[in-house]
């Protein structure tokens, strides 16, 4: 057996299916070239959609509106609870309602640059184009965006950009957009066009004759494992930030759907690109089960600082102005507190590493609203951020109107995901990945308020157009049945895995392994990564995996509601995915966006990209558990936004 770090290199990806020609005409061209399915025939096609977040919810509703028979799944008790609901800040769109110089091209430019030149230009431009339609769509659905007194939509600015293009609904934009999609989906469920399976978790993918034809899923109430068949499968199961145990993801967000798809042949792209969000509430102790984000919008009016002196443990209010270091404003005078997330996070880590961090363990920096309150008065601050302040106070028992908030970076979003082509199709024909589950649009760093934009663009507009083409070209006539030998095999594998988890009867809980893996990943594959650290992690992960299969303890049976079994099964996949993340981070010996390799930095500590070697997306092919995967490079071509060292100074 070769070592996991000795990966092999396979054929590069040559065709991403993106049309040629001017970037602003590509999406129109693709839509025109796509074959259509006769409306009368759509009913005969079944599409499985896994997940009901912004991407899945909007896709399910739209496909059903088009006439397809949609079978949709979510592990939550209701499609309304998908974790998109927790997004706070807003959604970007190049409406230029402010007349502040915004345009589709600028949003395109900002996103490619913000992603540190590791995203595909064609996809990003399409995203910027569609952004304007999303706002129209959501307003028509009754999404209560913030409005001005004239009755028109309000916008605010967000990290990494100098225009005001972020539409928002107080601090609950994700909730409101998700409810819009959920309501559209509900309408289709009532009409009988969507067959909804809540509390049902996808455990494997069924690939027959090289095409995705269905999934294996477990009813979380009864424990029954069933198979579902379709002509195409859409994964909208979100990101994999929970590999880190502590993250801002929901407790049950997991990587099983995408990892199982990866094992069945879908390439996994840029797994090491994880976003560490700069403004989260610091952890308080070992009992911590998750981290809570404070919207990035707070950086609009809050000022970030630490004491100038090391180990200054005076309360914030006692530290005089000239002994404070507003380090973002100092280092990046033109963007100040609004630098992109990766930069803000790393800067926070640096000042804490210098021993100037505040709060318990020195793992925090101040986010101070004193100036904003002085400038605008308390009322306007309350109107803008009231619910965030309340949330902060509830968690920390400190009043942010009186003392500065303490924040620290936390794992928030994963830019990596299943590799998809321009049509959002993975390397398994008939298997599509949308939203955070794919890798496509954010490169190495996602800009604030762009996740909602991408999820909805994929679900409402992109996938419904491109999946048509696949279904039109592949009109499956023979139905798959449960008796098919492949189906039997996949089902048996799933059942065996769960039985094994139950049979070990060891002495460690699923959470204890999760915490151990998370700490390892945070230390070696977190905000700053090194060759040595990643090698250490790659050595350690197989050991944890071996120990897991020896010592895991799962009480109860598989034929009942069993949350421990759910967790343990998700751990199986985290323990493999973590390894791939570390390998990807190790092989990418450059710094870019959220991926910071200490070996690759500029003299003043900024991320140093190495375009000559790494201007590609890394798509990994699975070869076996613990086996070194095969790397397929997709070279990134920049025709419009020429790579430069990002500068926010």
């Amino acid at each position: 057996m070769t070592s996991y770090t000795d990966y092999s290199t396979g054929e590069p990806v040559v065709d991403t299916k993106a049309p040629s020609g001017p970037v602003n005409e590509r999406w129109d061209k693709r839509r025109f070239e796509a074959k259509l399915v006769n409306p009368a025939n759509r009913r005969k096609h079944t599409v499985i959609v896994v997940g009901t977040g912004l991407a899945g919810g909007s896709a399910g509703a739209t496909l059903a509106e088009q006439g397809y028979h949609v079978v949709q799944f979510c592990y939550q008790d209701s499609p309304r609870r998908a974790h998109s609901i927790a997004a706070q800040g807003g959604i970007n769109a190049a409406k230029n309602y402010r007349n502040d110089g915004d345009s589709i091209h600028r949003l395109f430019y900002d996103t490619v640059k913000g992603g540190d030149f590791r995203a595909r230009e064609s996809n990003v431009h399409r995203l910027a184009q569609i952004s304007v339609e999303i706002i129209d769509q959501c307003v028509a659905q009754g999404v209560p965006f913030a409005r001005e007194y004239g009755g028109l939509l309000d916008t605010r600015s967000f990290g990494g950009v100098q225009v005001s293009r972020t539409f928002y609904a107080r601090g609950q934009t994700g909730q409101q957009l998700l409810l819009g999609a959920y309501q559209a989906l509900s309408r289709q469920i009532a009409a009988g066009n969507v067959e909804m399976h809540p509390r049902t978790e996808m455990l494997d993918l069924i690939v027959i004759d090289g095409r995705a034809r269905g999934i294996v899923a477990r009813d979380l109430i009864t424990g029954t494992i069933d198979t579902y068949f379709a002509d195409a499968v859409v994964l909208a199961s979100g990101g994999y930030g929970n590999v880190f145990y502590l993250s801002t993801n929901a407790m049950n967000s997991n990587a099983t759907a995408i990892w199982r798809a990866h094992r069945r042949g879908a390439h996994f792209a840029n797994p090491c690109f994880t976003q560490i969000h700069p403004t989260c509430i610091p952890r308080t102790g070992d009992h911590q089960s998750k981290l809570t984000l404070m919207s990035e919008s707070l950086r609009n009016d809050g000022r970030i600082w630490v004491p100038k002196a090391k180990g200054d443990d005076r309360p914030a209010n006692r530290i005089p102005e000239d002994e404070r270091d507003y380090y973002l404003e100092r280092i990046y005078p033109s963007f100040g507190n609004l630098v992109p997330r990766d930069i803000a996070s790393r800067a926070a880590k640096n000042v804490c590493d210098e021993g100037r961090g505040v709060g318990p363990g020195g793992q925090g920096v101040y986010l101070d609203f004193a100036d904003a309150i002085k400038r605008m008065g308390r009322k306007p601050v309350e109107a803008k951020y009231g619910n965030l302040f309340d949330m902060y106070q509830r968690i920390t028992d400190e009043d942010p109107y009186e003392v500065p908030m303490r924040i620290y970076p936390a794992v928030h979003y994963t830019m990596g995901g299943l590799w998809v082509d321009y049509d959002l199709q993975t390397t398994v024909p008939g298997l599509f990945a949308i939203g955070e589950a794919n890798f496509s649009d954010h490169g190495a760093n996602r800009l604030g308020a762009s996740a909602l934009m991408q999820g909805l663009a994929d679900g409402y507009f992109v996938l419904p157009a491109t999946i048509n083409d696949y279904l039109a070209r592949n009109p499956h006539h023979e139905a798959v049945t449960a008796e098919h030998p492949v189906v039997q095999d996949v089902l048996a594998e799933t059942e065996d895995r769960l039985s094994l988890l139950l049979a070990v009867d060891g002495d460690r809980t699923p959470d204890s392994f999760h915490r151990e893996l998370g700490e390892l990943m945070w230390e070696f594959c977190g905000m700053a990564r090194t060759d040595a650290g990643l090698r250490k992690a790659l050595e350690r992960i197989p050991q944890i995996r071996e120990e897991f299969w020896r010592r895991i303890k799962v009480p109860g049976t598989g034929e009942e509601f069993n949350q421990s079994l759910e967790k343990a099964n998700r751990m199986v996949d985290y323990l493999e995915l973590a390894e791939l993340m570390c390998l990807d981070a190790l092989h990418r010996a450059e710094s870019c966006g959220g991926h910071f390799r200490e070996e690759s930095q500029t003299p003043d500590g900024e991320a140093a990209r190495r375009d000559d070697e790494f201007a590609y997306a890394a798509a990994w092919e699975f070869t076996g558990t613990g086996e070194a995967p095969t790397l397929h490079r997709e070279d990134l071509v920049f025709e419009y936004v020429h790579p430069t060292q990002r500068s926010y100074a």
Partner: protein, 250 residues
């Protein structure tokens, strides 16, 4: 902190349930209530016992999954969701009763987990605006007066947790239903379906076996998002208006 927990244990929907008593020690006041239950569950698993099942997901107070009645209060003593309740609200040595939402429309699945799909069916009955993808006019085509937009938002904040039903002596879903009716009916986009929406949603609410409203006000007190009781009044008004209007159109 050391605490005594009395927790409702019920193997499945058909089994009988009862309160079981557990002691937990070493609880920090910074823990959330659910983290305290995590601690208990870790111990139970290692002892070879079945951990306590409860719904939870985002743990940020927005997904609406968590649903515990703590010492007789839906979501416990603070006006927030269970996941945002912290142990600093309790004292060392306290005995805490933990029960599931109680309503016949919310049958228990296991322990503290209940089935809230009835809420989904109320939304399916009309809690949406028909706006198929692609059919939307330009977002600024219809300005919405700020007070209306704010009012819509206030009602749209509902997280669908079901605390209103759990707290209501009649197991009524009026606050939940009214929140959605008001959110959509106050907006110009919602106007074309204004009557059918309220009539169908209320009919579905009744169909699901929720109780009626006696305006006890417990729902609004328990609501973690502060949906006001007057929301129900507004829905009643909408319902009466719709009944008259539909009668006229016959």
């Amino acid at each position: 902190m050391k605490l005594t927990l009395r927790v409702w244990r019920q193997q499945n929907a058909d089994a009988d349930g009862a309160m079981s008593t557990y002691e937990v020690d070493g609880i920090s006041s910074d823990m959330s209530f659910l983290e305290m239950l995590d601690t208990l569950n870790e111990e139970l698993i290692l002892r070879g016992e079945d951990p306590v099942a409860f719904d939870h997901d985002c743990r940020e107070g927005i997904c609406g999954a968590c649903s515990l009645v703590i010492n007789g209060d839906a979501h416990g003593p603070e006006r927030t969701t269970t996941c945002q309740l912290h142990m600093r609200s309790f004292k060392d040595g306290d005995t805490i009763d933990v029960e599931p939402w109680r309503a016949s429309a919310f049958p228990v699945i296991k322990d503290l987990v209940v089935d809230r799909t009835a809420f989904d069916r109320i939304i399916q009955a009309g809690g949406y605006i028909t706006a198929p993808t692609g059919a939307a006019p330009e977002a600024h085509a219809t300005p919405v007066p700020k007070p209306d937009a704010d009012l819509a938002f206030e009602h749209a904040e509902c997280i669908g947790c079901g605390a209103c039903v759990a707290a209501c002596p009649n197991g009524a879903a009026m606050l939940f239903t009214s929140a959605k009716v008001n959110h959509l009916n106050v907006l110009p986009q919602g106007a074309p379906e204004r009557e059918t929406r309220v009539l169908d949603m209320v009919a579905q609410m009744d169909e699901e076996g929720f109780g009626g409203c006696t305006l006890a006000g417990e729902c609004a007190t328990a609501c973690p998002k502060g949906i006001p009781l007057v929301s129900i009044t507004s829905m009643n008004k909408e319902w009466l208006r719709a009944t008259r209007k539909v009668a006229k159109q016959r």
